[in-house]
Amino acid sequence: MRVGLIASLTGHAVVLLWGLIAFPDVRSFTTPPVDSLPVELVPVEELTRLQKGEKDAEIRDVAALNPTEKPKEEPVKPADKPDKAAVEQPTPPTPEPAPAPEPAPAPTPVAEPEPAPAPEAAAEPEPAPAEKAPEPAPEAAAPEPIQTKVVPRVKPKPPRPTQTAEKPKEKDFKPNEIAALLNKVEPKGASSSSTDPASLGSRLSQDSNVKMSQSELDALRGQISRCWNPPVGAVGAESLNVRVRIELDRSGEVSGSPEVLNSNSNPAFRAAASSAVRAVMRCAPYTLPASKYEAWQEVIMNFDPREMVGG
């Protein structure tokens, strides 16, 4: 028995020693470097917030779609002011170069107040018209690395896009282009701060930064339209446009009674107005993002039979 015990002890000691030698250099996993895809968390309303526009406005390509690559290929001449090169890119996706049919009484050329700071960021106070764009481009044809100073992607948006401009340029991910593509949505109906008839939106939201995104507005609209029986049978029903101001409390309940803002000589208007009010009352409470209560505290809802019937 003693022989076995001694042999066993030696064997275990040998195995332990081997373990001491073999185990410490456990190789750590080699993680191959992965090209990180820059992902930005952008509030959805930046992309879905629509500009004020005309219903019959034509669909336009938004400018500044691909100027991001131009300064990289053709460096700017040293004498050239970098400002000009910067100016030709940020041509904002605003209706400035919009076609003429815009009526005179809508003088505010830009729906959002933001475009004003954007040209300042480009160090040139005058807003750059689209016609000016081709002019600086040919000048920008001499090798000089100074153009890296040029902020290539200034957009009439909150300061976030400038951060994206500083990111590595070799990435294919171009948030500006995506935003531009998304902005190609036909401008229709929605406005946040103009005096024109707004289908939906709060009067209080002019001073605050809180804005409802289009998807959230659509959600509210969908909630209400489910309960609405449009007066389809009335004479001239498609002209029975009812604007109702609704005040909501934080739980989404209607506080007070909805107020009909417009009037019409059509005898069926009273029925249409009361059906709209009933729809508002019946569908309460509404589920809306609580963090944006300022935006939907007071909502002006446009009950347009032509739109709501269809969708």
């Binding site: 028995m1 076995g4 066993s8 275990h12 332990l16 410490p24 456990v26």
Partner: protein
């Protein structure tokens, strides 16, 4: 609880070597590990001892059988064997022959129930030999069945304390979690390390003992037949 946190967090720079795994472990896990290592040592000691014993027994039986069936007279064989301590078949033969001799020593030989006495003596000897061969095999069986559970207990305990430490450190980073779980799993590894050879060896030795006992029983039957013939011839 703070100790747990520190021991788990300290594991990050301690590495994964055997000693590091051992020293970082909780005291219960340490006891389990030490016990399992001791069980493994003891098991291997038994295994080595038994394999030597089995080989020796087999050789002795082979040698005795060749001598026994070589035509040598039983008296002579008994004369050479009965002075030393004998094992297995030789012990069987010596026990039977001693009973035979004693029965013929007196003035009046007690041959009447000699056959039964010889059978009984040989049975007892077979039992004693089997017991000698099976000795400590039960340890192997116990370790083989219990060591995994003991190791599992150490693992469960280690993971429990690791999770407590994770909860206290407010971090679910894998670098914090991994050392505690590694040290816990080390206990199961030791349990399996002790159990697997024990189970295999137990099965092998149990069948070896069965074979040896069967062989001895066969020899006892044959020898009993020879003695019975002698008794009948003399009476």
């Amino acid at each position: 609880m703070n100790e747990l946190v520190q021991s788990t967090l300290a594991a990050q720079d301690g590495g994964i070597s055997f000693f590091a795994l051992f020293w970082q472990a909780h005291i219960v896990v340490k006891i389990v590990m030490v016990g399992l290592i001791a069980a493994s040592v003891w098991c291997w000691a038994i295994i080595l001892d038994k394999s030597l014993l089995m080989g020796r027994t087999k050789r002795q039986m082979n040698r005795f059988e060749t001598v026994f069936w070589s035509g040598q007279s039983l008296e002579e064989l008994y004369g050479t064997l009965h002075h030393r301590t004998n094992y297995s078949m030789a012990a069987l033969f010596v026990a039977a022959m001693r009973e035979w001799k004693r029965s013929h020593e007196g003035a009046k030989p007690a041959i009447g129930s000699l056959q039964q006495r010889i059978d009984r003596v040989m049975d007892v000897t077979i039992q004693r030999e089997a017991e000698r061969l099976e000795n400590r095999l039960l340890v192997l069986a116990t370790v083989g069945s219990a060591a995994p559970f003991i190791g599992l207990f150490g693992t469960v305990w280690g993971i429990m304390t690791a999770f407590q430490a994770i909860a206290a450190s407010d971090s679910t980073n894998l670098a914090v979690v991994a050392p505690g779980i590694a040290e816990a799993l080390f206990a199961t590894a030791l349990g399996l390390l002790a159990a697997i050879p024990a189970v295999i060896a137990y099965n092998k030795f149990a069948s070896d003992v069965g074979k040896a006992v069967g062989r001895m029983e066969g020899f006892a039957d044959e020898f009993s037949a020879i003695l019975s013939r002698q008794i009948d011839e003399r009476s």
